[in-house]
């Protein structure tokens, strides 16, 4: 308790507190700009952080880290362009809701969910960091392999509509993930002698291209369509009321709970990453929605503006932020690529994360923990302020100009990730691929999941087999690896349940006792 107070005193110094607020504001803005994400922002900021005292620099980074994950939802909803990768699923239901004239409602759900997820996660960090770090340690190679399989199974939740196209998309992602230096054999694959491909296709520029550049092409197509029809340009969605009624809040409470729990769990595990959390949360929320609300008269279909489809990914991505600091601060193990950048920023100030940090620089360690809590509290009012300003700005910019702005930002963002010209070509190429996929109705979500999990899955399966001397049964060994076996069982259920459900409906339909068969909801 003393230490928590110590953290607060450190944080509540006017300079430090103003850095937190500046960080939150910067994070919301960085997050809401397509093409720029928190990773890129940190890469630009870390060199400057040198001139700041450690407490101020880290407070600012915490602010940016928390708020960027929330800010990404704004363009995702308004323009169907995720500002950060963490908002990529929010585009589905968020933009659909906005197109129905309820942009305000969608933004409000997104921001409230982010704050709720972030607050729960901060509390977890504050209260049970050491205990959770112990849990994270129990995750070895086998558990990680099972986790990636569980993560990939959440693709089932995304396969609405054409199942074949969804699977093609996931396979495409997995294939692209094989490009580069193989972690298992140490040999390069499909690099065609290009040194730029040794580490695989650079990830950040690729995401920038898949979302930002592709969205610019989409806008361009809209403009061309409108011109050829000769009509006036269709205006962007109206914001409408931002008020959430208590019925909706009550309805979303369980979604916030589940999604935050998923986010916290995934965040604590090193190497799992934010994207896996949002996919799993979205999948869970989708199941609940279909069970409870789907098919009602006044209800939008899943993927076409369901409130749960916005709440789940947004609560989950902010729940990852604070919890990813659990293994970092207590053990020195970074939870994801962004929290890994904290190590660099801390090292510049002579701080090494891990148990010694609490012994030697307890004030800083606890300040970071408390800062997450404070960030999420100040984020709520600030987010609404930013939404007003940003969305008004978006309204005032003509579509044709918007295309140019988005493209420029994407090129800039891609280049600044490593200051490499090659990244610009990657972003443009990825944009063209994503646009083509869009045209042919192949969803992007499963491909991203494959991209994110591919290398991780390959390495963890191969490493598991290395320690088991090639015994594949290690993945379903309930005695030696109970956590892994449970996750494998859960993955199996995720695949089988929808298929069984569809089968049962078909049988019911055949006997004539049921309602008319719906299209399989798998």
């Amino acid at each position: 308790m003393d230490q928590i107070l110590l953290g607060f005193t450190q944080l509540l110094q006017p300079t430090v507190l103003s850095m937190v607020m500046l960080g939150v504001l910067a994070g919301l803005i960085v997050g809401s700009i397509p093409g720029i994400n928190d990773n890129i922002a940190f890469a630009v900021f870390i060199p400057f952080s040198f001139s700041l005292p450690a407490d101020q620099a880290l407070a600012l980074m915490v602010g940016v880290y928390c708020a960027a994950a929330a800010g990404g939802a704004i363009p995702a909803i308004m323009l169907k362009v995720p500002g950060t990768a963490s908002a990529l699923i929010t585009t589905i239901d968020g933009n659909a809701m906005a197109r129905k004239g309820q942009a305000g409602r969608a933004l409000s759900i997104a921001m409230t969910s982010s704050v709720v997820g972030g607050l729960l996660s901060s509390l977890v960090l504050l209260v049970c960091a050491p205990a959770l770090a112990e849990v994270a340690l129990r995750f070895g190679y086998v558990e990680n392999a099972a986790l990636t399989i569980l993560g990939l199974s959440s693709v089932v939740g995304l396969l609405s509509g054409n199942i074949l196209k969804g699977i093609i998309s996931a396979a495409l992602g997995l294939l692209v993930a094989t490009i580069g230096y193989s972690q298992v054999t140490g040999f390069p694959r499909y690099t065609f002698g290009s040194v730029n491909l040794i580490e695989g296709i650079p990830f950040v520029p690729m995401l920038v291209g898949l979302f930002g550049v592709a969205a610019a092409f989409d806008l361009l197509r809209d403009i061309v369509d409108e011109r050829s029809r000769g009509g006036a340009s269709a205006s962007l969605p109206v914001i409408g009321s931002m008020k959430l009624d208590s019925g909706l809040i009550r309805r979303l409470l369980p979604v916030w709970g589940t999604s935050s729990a998923i986010g916290n769990f995934i965040g604590v595990l090193p190497g799992a990453g934010m994207l896996m959390a949002i996919y799993l949360a979205y999948d869970q929320a989708g199941r609940r929605f279909r069970r409870r609300f789907a098919g009602r008269d006044d209800e939008a279909a899943w993927g076409e503006g369901a409130p749960e489809g916005i709440a789940a990914p947004e609560a989950a991505n902010n729940a990852v932020t604070a919890s990813s600091m659990v293994p970092l601060l207590s053990l020195g193990i970074p939870g994801n690529s962004t929290s890994a950048l904290f190590i660099g920023a801390m090292a510049l100030h002579g701080l090494v994360p891990g148990p010694l940090l609490f012994a030697q620089h307890g004030d800083i360690a606890w300040m970071i923990i408390v800062a997450f809590l404070v960030c999420n509290i100040v984020m709520w009012p600030m987010a609404f302020l930013v939404i007003r300003v940003v969305s008004r700005t978006i309204f005032s910019i003509p579509k044709s100009v918007m295309v140019g702005i988005i493209l420029l930002l994407c090129v800039l963002g891609a280049y600044s990730d490593g200051n490499n010209q090659f990244n610009v070509w990657v972003a443009l190429g990825a944009g063209i691929v994503a646009f083509a996929m869009n045209l042919s109705g192949i969803p992007l979500g499963p491909a991203i999941l494959g991209l994110v999990l591919g290398a991780q899955m390959e390495a963890s399966i191969s490493n598991s087999l290395a320690i088991s001397q090639g015994n594949w049964l290690v993945f379903v060994d309930p005695v030696g690896h109970p956590i892994a076996a449970a996750m494998m069982a859960l993955s199996a259920i995720m695949w089988i349940a929808p298929a069984l459900g569809a089968l049962r409906r078909r049988r019911a339909d055949r006997t004539g006792s049921g309602q008319p068969a719906r299209v399989s909801d798998t």
Partner: protein
């Protein structure tokens, strides 16, 4: 007569050298870090640049990150840069092995070493509660059955340290490559691997905090922080030194006086107390080796690595 002529020549040469050195640097010097900001090479480079700017007048050392291809993109950039002393490479051991392992489009000979600022000896680290109390226990067990060791990647100097031990000490290992230090740390602290081959710089803070133990260090003397940990040689492992290095290099063909100027600059930095303290706080050992000694380190590492790469068919 000849004597005084010789003296005049030497003096003249020295004057010419200082005259050239006085003309350099007239503009900012780019210190190319071939990795993204935030890593060990980036952090040490920024500490050095900060210290260097205290000694330079009218010019600054500016860190520029050129990431990609596991360092090869930035390294190739410097290999092809103008050899005028305004482009420096933050050189690491990987420059030596990348041409063989990753098909990098340069050779070690394309660089002229300037000075080394950090030597990081290899250590064998095990979980705090490991069944191996000493390096003897560990090696004896590894002779009977392969031990699982987590490493930074296939073909890294850490992987090769293990391969070297297999030839010198007949120890058997199963390697579990990981992406990044965090994953390896988790595997060791969580007891998912028997141990790890790590650089001392990474292992130190975790060994000090008691979550991992260091069994042996591949250096010519024991580390002052761990006086009870034997060196590889003391443990009878037959490897005198195995260390990754960090230093400065310039494109081959850079004028000698410029190299000398930069080497002296690094020497001044290494003696700077604020710099030493900041390096130590970050977990890095601030050392200094001049251009010749750095060249020797590189040559010796290249010879050792080349044999291992060939023996184990690691080459591309």
């Amino acid at each position: 007569m000849m004597k005084s002529l010789g003296l005049a020549l030497v003096l003249g040469g020295a004057l010419a050298t200082s005259a050239l050195a006085q003309d350099y640097p007239v503009r900012d010097i780019d210190l190319v870090v071939p990795f993204a900001p935030g890593g060990a090479v980036d952090v040490t480079s920024r500490l050095i640049a900060e210290a260097a700017n205290g000694f330079l007048d009218g010019a600054e050392v500016v860190v520029s990150n050129r990431a990609g291809g596991g360092g090869v993109v930035g390294q190739s950039f410097v290999a092809n840069a103008e050899p005028d002393g305004y482009t420096l490479l933050a050189m690491t051991s990987s420059v030596v092995t990348n041409p063989q392992l990753k098909g990098a489009p340069y050779e070690v000979a394309d660089f002229t070493p300037v000075a080394a600022y950090n030597l990081d000896p290899e250590v064998i680290a095990v979980p705090a509660d490991s069944r191996f109390a000493t390096i003897e226990d560990f090696i004896n067990a590894a002779r009977e059955a392969p031990l699982t060791m987590t490493i930074a990647g296939i073909g890294t100097s850490h992987h090769m340290a293990g391969l070297a031990l297999t030839s010198t000490a007949k120890a058997q290992f199963t390697y579990v490559p990981a992406k990044g230090f965090g994953e390896q740390l988790q595997a060791v602290i969580g007891g998912h691997a028997d141990g790890a081959f790590w650089p001392m710089g990474e292992a130190m803070s975790h060994a000090k905090s008691g979550t991992v133990r260091i069994l042996a260090v591949a250096s010519d003397m024991r580390d002052a922080n761990f006086p009870d940990v034997p060196t590889f040689e003391e443990a009878g492992l037959g490897i005198p030194i195995w260390a990754t290095f960090r230093g400065w290099a310039v494109p081959a063909g850079t004028p000698e006086p410029v190299v000398a100027f930069l080497s002296e600059l690094m020497e001044k930095i290494a003696k700077d107390e604020t710099y030493q303290k900041k390096m130590a706080d970050g977990g890095f050992d601030a050392t200094y080796r001049n251009a010749d000694d750095f060249q020797k380190i590189i040559t010796s590492y290249a010879e050792q690595a080349s044999v291992i790469i060939k023996e184990n068919n690691l080459s591309e």
